[in-house]
Amino acid sequence: MARAVTTQHKTIATVAAWIVALLIFFPILYTIITSFKSEQEAIQGFNLIPSGTFESYAEVQAQSGYFKFFLNSVLLSVGSTILALLVAIPAAWSMAFSPTKRTKDILMWMLSTKMMPAVAVLFPIYLIFRNLGLLDSRIGLMVMLMLINLPIVVWMLYTYFREIPGEILEAARMDGASLWNEIIYVLTPMAVPGIASTMLLNIILAWNEAFWTIRLTTTDAAPLTAFISSFSSPQGLFWAKLSAASTLAIAPILIMGWFSQKQLVRGLTFGAVK
């Protein structure tokens, strides 16, 4: 028996939910709108209809070289995610398919490394990076982002791999498939969706990481988080340009995020809520 839903109930719920949703989304919406205003328009009080100029976007690129930072963000988030996957896939595979008594403890321990406050190791890391000449280098930061996201990557992959039925692997083994063939032809096709979801979530997390990316870079390796933080200085206070820079910084990840709502829940709750 389906629950009878009155049109009135549905209308009230719709109106209420849309009002709340638009209020929550408003700061983002207003930023996008302001990015299409001229600087004068932007400070002339509340106004939802911009003149539609693209001059702020052009100026952000011309003055600060936005695309260099954008490129760094892409390289760092994708690079660190691929590194993390390379390290994590074998680990998650072995934990899911040949678990031992200690598997759970190892998983919990990995998770516990995530709880170490970054700031507590800021200076040692800074020293190590300086002595290795890794300050402001993409490789150094890539390794850093890989390390802080590795526990989540292992966990997510583990929860996905665990859902692959082990009997299929045994059947393949019976048929004489070598380990290599087993991985390439049996496991990989079934694991691809899980790996893709893990990748998506971790690109988002790495893109938005705003402690190490700000502290360990100056110019060469600086991604968008560092670029945007530089706007907090007084000479950067131009509303329309600030809005254009912000819009550019969040747009790609916002769109990716919309497609990854389910993976987000799963990844960030370590499989506890699906």
């Binding site: 629950r3 200076f123 890391i125 988080t225 945007i228 709502q261």
Partner: protein
């Protein structure tokens, strides 16, 4: 099934992850602990040496220390209260039948994907700016005096920004949990004449308890280390009014070069995080067994 060979293979496959994380955890932490007992100033290397617990004493006697601990706790607790209660209400609302539910979900979840510096800058300049912000426009519209948020109420302002970032996360997780509630159970309760309130207290809330626990624990981990939002908006000020523990440690280490004191602060931050982690691990561990 597991033969000796597969077992050693499994160990071999796990080794890179385990070794990397072990090094990543042990080396910097050991260094921090070591520095916390040292006098060390990169600008003045003549006065280096072992100083026992005096860094802890200095850090502790610094009036900013207690303030920063207090600010850290106020930030964590306030944001948790706002996001959990707000998240439950929002999840209940979005779970209702409506037109355009998918778009509502997308709008509500969006702030979570905004990187912290952007969130902080947008709120600082577009919304809360005492002259050009939307709040100031609204205040002037009603003939009131615009509020200087970051000058007069810096903690409140930061709490609002951080809560805005995390409310979507809480809502999304709680909504996911809500939608897995058995429809038949709900109908049965309704037929038994249970009203909305009693259905919520006796059926919905217990069902969501696990999700609520997870939301609280995960947010606490991230909220204990809020950094960019403070850096971009108030820089910890005015005075130390909006300095939390991570921000104080950053100031000591990279602005004042008081490495010993900063490391002592770092060790305290680790202890604080471990107390939280202890409870977090137990809860997540329990969920694993199910």
């Amino acid at each position: 099934m597991a033969t000796q060979q597969t077992r050693s293979l499994a160990r071999f496959m796990m080794a890179p992850s385990v070794v990397l994380l072990l090094v990543w955890m042990v080396v910097p932490l050991a260094l921090t602990l070591w520095f916390s007992f040292q006098q060390y100033n990169p600008l003045n290397p003549m006065r280096d040496g072992f100083v026992g617990l005096s860094n802890y004493a200095l850090f502790y006697s610094n009036p900013a220390f207690l303030q920063s601990i207090l600010n850290t706790l106020v930030l964590v607790v306030s944001v948790l209260l706002i996001t959990v209660i707000g998240g439950i209400l929002l999840a209940l609302l979005i779970d209702q039948p409506m037109w355009g539910q998918g778009i509502v979900r997308i709008l509500v979840i969006s702030p979570f994907f905004v990187m912290p510096p952007v969130a902080a800058l947008v709120w600082k300049n577009m919304i809360m700016h005492p002259q050009y912000g939307v709040f100031a426009d609204i205040a002037r519209f009603f003939g009131a005096q615009p509020i200087d948020w970051f000058g007069q109420h810096p903690m409140t302002a930061i709490i609002i920004i951080v809560a805005w970032q995390w409310l979507p996360f809480a809502t999304l997780i709680l909504l996911t949990s809500l939608q897995s509630l058995d429809g038949e159970q709900k109908e049965a309760a309704e037929m038994d004449g249970a009203g909305f309130i009693s259905r919520f207290i006796y059926l919905t809330l217990p069902h969501m308890s696990r999700a609520i626990t997870v939301v609280i624990l995960i947010q606490t981990i991230f909220l204990l280390s809020v950094y960019a939002e403070i850096l971009v908006t108030t820089n910890g000020g005015p005075g130390y009014a909006s300095t939390n523990l991570p921000f104080l440690v950053y100031q000591k280490a990279l602005l004042e070069f008081k490495i010993g004191q900063a490391s002592a602060g770092g060790v305290i931050a680790v202890i604080l995080a471990n107390i939280v982690a202890f409870f977090a691990m137990r809860a997540v561990g329990k969920n694993l067994d199910k």
